[in-house]
C-alpha cells in the first residue's frame, strides 16, 4: 500500500486536489533512491500530519 493510500485511509475526506501540484497542501515525494515515498510538505489547514505510528498501523 502506498503512502498516498495510507493517508487517504487515515483521512477519508481528503481528495486528489489536496495532493496536486497546483494548490495542494500536501506534497508526497519519492527521490528514486530506494527510500520510498515520504511526506515532503504538510500544510493541510485542518488535518495534522499523521505520525509514523498512524501510518504503520494501516496495513490494508
Amino acid at each position: 500500500m502506498s503512502l498516498y493510500d495510507k493517508i487517504m485511509k487515515i483521512y477519508p475526506d481528503l481528495t486528489q486536489a489536496d495532493f496536486m501540484p497546483f494548490g495542494g497542501t500536501i506534497m508526497l515525494q519519492n527521490d528514486s533512491d530506494g527510500r520510498g515515498d515520504y511526506i515532503a510538505k504538510w500544510e493541510h489547514p485542518v488535518h495534522p500530519q499523521p505520525t509514523q505510528e498512524q501510518l504503520d498501523a494501516i496495513t490494508e
Binding site: D5, P21, L28, Q29, N30, S32, D33, A40
Partner: protein
C-alpha cells in the same frame, strides 16, 4: 607601451576565463542532454517522483550525473553546472496510465532537492480509454550559482502510472 588594440590572434585558446567575460556577453557554458533508457514503473499516485535519466546524449562539462547515487558531489540524476549563470531547463515526461478515470500528469523541475516549477498538464480528457499516454513538458530559466545549485526532473500523476521516458 600602451596597447591600443587586442584581437583574437593575440590570445591563446582558453586564455579568457569566465570571470573575465563582461556582462551581456554570452559564453558557452555547460550544457547537457539526457534521457531515460527504460520505462520507469511503480510511480505512486499523487507523489512527486524523481525521473531516472540514465543515458547521456551530451554533457559538455561533465556536470550531469546519470546514476542513482551522488558522484563527484553531483546528486543522483542532477545537472550541477560549474559556471554561474541563468540556464534554460526543459524536461519532458511521457506516462502510461490505465483505467477509465480522468488522469493528469505533470513534469516538474526541482532545484536543490525541492520543487521549483511545474510543467504543462497532460491529461486524457474524457477518460474513456482503458489506457492512455500522457505527456507533460516543464520549462524554465533558472539561476544556478555554479557551485552548489543543481536541478533534477520529477513527475507527478493522479493515477498509478509508469513513465515511458
Amino acid at each position: 607601451m600602451a596597447i591600443s588594440t587586442i584581437d583574437s590572434t593575440g590570445l591563446s585558446a582558453g586564455a579568457v576565463l569566465q570571470p573575465n567575460v563582461g556582462n551581456g556577453v554570452a559564453g558557452t557554458g555547460p550544457v547537457f542532454c539526457a534521457y531515460a533508457n527504460a520505462q520507469q514503473t511503480g510511480i505512486s499516485v499523487g507523489t512527486f517522483t524523481q525521473i531516472a535519466l540514465q543515458t547521456i546524449e551530451y554533457d559538455t562539462a561533465s556536470c550531469f550525473n546519470n546514476t542513482n547515487a551522488t558522484v563527484n558531489g553531483i546528486p543522483a540524476y542532477a545537472f550541477k553546472p560549474n559556471v554561474a549563470g541563468y540556464y534554460s531547463i526543459t524536461g519532458i515526461v511521457w506516462t502510461t496510465v490505465s483505467g477509465n478515470n480522468l488522469s493528469y500528469t505533470f513534469a516538474n523541475i526541482y532545484k536543490n532537492g525541492a520543487w521549483y516549477k511545474d510543467g504543462s498538464a497532460g491529461n486524457n480528457a474524457g477518460g474513456t480509454t482503458a489506457t492512455a499516454e500522457l505527456s507533460s513538458i516543464a520549462q524554465c530559466t533558472v539561476y544556478l550559482n555554479g557551485t552548489t545549485d543543481y536541478v533534477q526532473l520529477y513527475v507527478w500523476g493522479n493515477t498509478n502510472s509508469s513513465v515511458t521516458f
